[in-house]
Every structure is written in structure tokens, then in C-alpha cells.
Amino acid sequence: MSNNPLHQFTITEIVPVEIAGINASFTNSAVAMVATVAVVSIFLIMGMGGRSLVPGRWQSMAELSYSFVADMVRDNVGNEGRKYFPIIFSLFMFILFGNFLGLLPYSFTFTSHVAVTFTLAMAVFIGVTLIGIARHGLHFFTFFVPGGVPAVMLPLLVPIEIISYLSRPVSLSIRLFANMTAGHTMMKVFAAFIVPLGFLGGWAPFAVDVALTGFEFLVAFLQAYVFAVLTCIYLNDSIHLH
């Protein structure tokens, strides 16, 4: 049914592949990811191709995105965070362009699938935890013991802290996935009203859709930003352990 607002999230297999009983097909989601990587690469590599001292429009967009993330890393992690700039920049550009390309009509938003966002969030979570353990050893686990608390309260507070820590990848992935899914569904719901309401009534949902499109651009950027900034904050926590 083409009017189903959730139809846009259906995964379709384009090149069916099965490895050892696991369905590893090349899907429309994978196509969107490959397209995103290609667009990001073109944007950055060709944008910086001129390497002119006074940048043109394209080059200054590429430089702007670089310095935006560089400042974010420096402000939130400090100078020790410079090592981790490449991964944060890649994450940010991947999610940002994935969100933006998903706004094109007939395209597919891969960030609207929790499988994708949870994988990204788990990669961040495991990486950050390993960095913390590598830098601080067993001292890392004092992270879960809040300071200034009487010892009687610790059996209650330590599990809460551990759950709070484990909930990080969940909240990181749910936030991105839920925002993208909700926005795209809402746009489809209003769009489905435009033609049935006719020439006179159809303008109202059309106006809502125009506003929603602008709002979706904001959300697309904001979610990529929040994902990157939270990655920085988590990284900062495990580098500068108190």
C-alpha cells in the first residue's frame, strides 16, 4: 500500500547475498550508505582539491565543516582529543549527509533504522570504554562510585550508575533513530492528505509539509551534531577520569 506512511522505511534486497545462512544482502539501505560515503568523499576531496589560500565557496564549506568539528573536539575533549578527531569527524559527516540525503524525495534514510544507529552507538560506546580502561586500568571502574556518598548508600547507587552508563548507547541510538523516523513519518502523513482534500483544502497540509521540511533540515543537522557532541563528552569522561 503506497499510502502507508511507514512504507518508506521498508528494506528491499537489491543484490541477494547469503553467507552461511545469514542474510547479508545488498539492500537499499546499503545503497544509501554507499551513496553517502561517496557524496562526503566528493564533497571533501574535490572541495579541497584547489587548496587555494583564499577559499572559494565549495572549499570554505569543506573547511567550515572541518573546523566546526575540530572546535567541538577541542572544546569538549581538550588537546588529548585531537587523536580521536578523525573518527568523530567521520561519524559526524556520515550521519549528517545520511540525514540530508534521506530528505531527498524517493531516497532512503538509513539513520531511521535502529540497527544502523545502534551499531554506530555501540562502536562509540565500546571504543570509549576501551580507551578509558587502556588509559586508567582498573582505576576506570571507580567511575561507577559517586563521590561524597556515605558507604551505606553505595549498594544502591553503584547499580544505578552502572545502568546509567549502560544506557548511553541506547539513548544515543534511540534519539537519532526516533527523530528521523518520527519526522519522516509525519511528513508522509501530512502529504497523504494533500490530494484527497482537493484544490481548496489541500493547501493546509501542504503548508504544514513545507514547514516540516524546513524543520526536518534543522533536525537532520541537530541530530548529527548531538551525536558527535555526545561522543566527545563520553570520550572526555573516559580520558579525564576524576
Binding site: 567511575f143 544506557s167 544515543l172 563528552i233
Partner: protein
């Protein structure tokens, strides 16, 4: 009576010719008096110096993580933080019940409340601007001393 000397004439017409040949942006600078030019250059100098300092100085942590996020960003973060705490709590409780202790549903109930507490703590920390880190020891102590809201 003011009579334009030859030198002034040359300067005037020279400027006009100059402004015709070069791009219009230069016009503004040419019309300025020397004093204006000076202050404009000073302003540019300070801005340049600022930019250079910013890019070279070993900048550590800014207070950014200690500032509560504002507006839409805050709203988007809080909801997910609250829900994810409960979700993880229930998931852990359910897993322990089913696979470890065979004590359905008691651990799930216990961990539901622990998860809810963790979720609320996540939101509390986000709003207080502590980041959403577990165990910010120094901040706890510092803030408990300074901040009356925490004592109340």
C-alpha cells in the same frame, strides 16, 4: 581663501582614477580619513591576533560541558535519556530473571526501579550541566558546596 594647490589636485584626481580602475571595495578605504584607516587596521589587527591565538593556544576544556544545553537540543536529549535508563534497567532485570536466576518477575521489578532512577539521574545531570557522566566526583563536591539547589 582656500586655493587648491597642485599637489592636492593630483591627489584628488589620482584617487578618482584609482577608484575607477580597482574594485569598488577599495572605495570605502579611499574615502576614509587617515584616522579611520588607522582604527580600522587596529581592529583588524586585534581580530587577526585573536584568531591566531585561538588556533595556536593549547586550548583545554572549555566550560561547554558544564553549561546546560539550551532549547531544542536539551529537549531532544532529555526524553531519550529518561526512556533509555528504564529500557536498560528492565532489559537487565529480565535477562537476569530468565537466564540466570529463574526468579521471574522479581528482578525485573527491582531493576525497573533502578533503571527509572538511572534515567531520572541522566536527565538531572543533563539539566544541571554535569554532562551525563556517571561519577563526576569533583563536580559533585564542588557543586554541593556552591549550589543551593542541590542541598534543597
Amino acid at each position: 581663501m582656500f586655493r587648491p594647490t597642485f599637489g592636492l589636485c593630483v591627489e584628488k584626481w589620482g584617487k578618482r582614477l584609482f577608484s575607477l580602475i580597482f574594485i569598488p571595495e577599495f572605495l570605502g578605504i579611499l574615502k576614509m580619513s587617515d584616522k579611520d584607516k588607522r582604527s580600522e587596521l587596529d581592529k583588524f589587527d586585534t581580530r587577526l591576533k585573536q584568531a591566531q591565538d585561538n588556533s595556536t593556544a593549547p586550548r583545554g576544556l572549555k566550560a561547554a560541558t558544564n553549561e546546560p544545553p539550551k532549547g531544542l537540543g536539551l529537549a531532544l536529549r532529555c526524553g531519550a535519556d529518561l526512556v533509555s535508563g528504564i529500557a536498560v534497567g528492565v532489559a537487565i532485570g529480565y535477562a537476569l530473571d530468565t537466564f540466570v536466576f529463574d526468579s521471574k518477575p522479581w528482578l525485573m521489578v527491582l531493576f525497573f526501579f533502578l533503571g527509572a532512577a538511572a534515567g531520572i539521574m541522566n536527565v538531572f545531570r543533563t539539566v544541571q550541566g554535569l554532562g551525563i557522566a556517571a561519577g563526576y566526583k569533583e563536580d559533585y563536591i564542588e557543586r554541593a558546596g556552591k549550589d543551593d539547589n542541590l542541598k534543597d
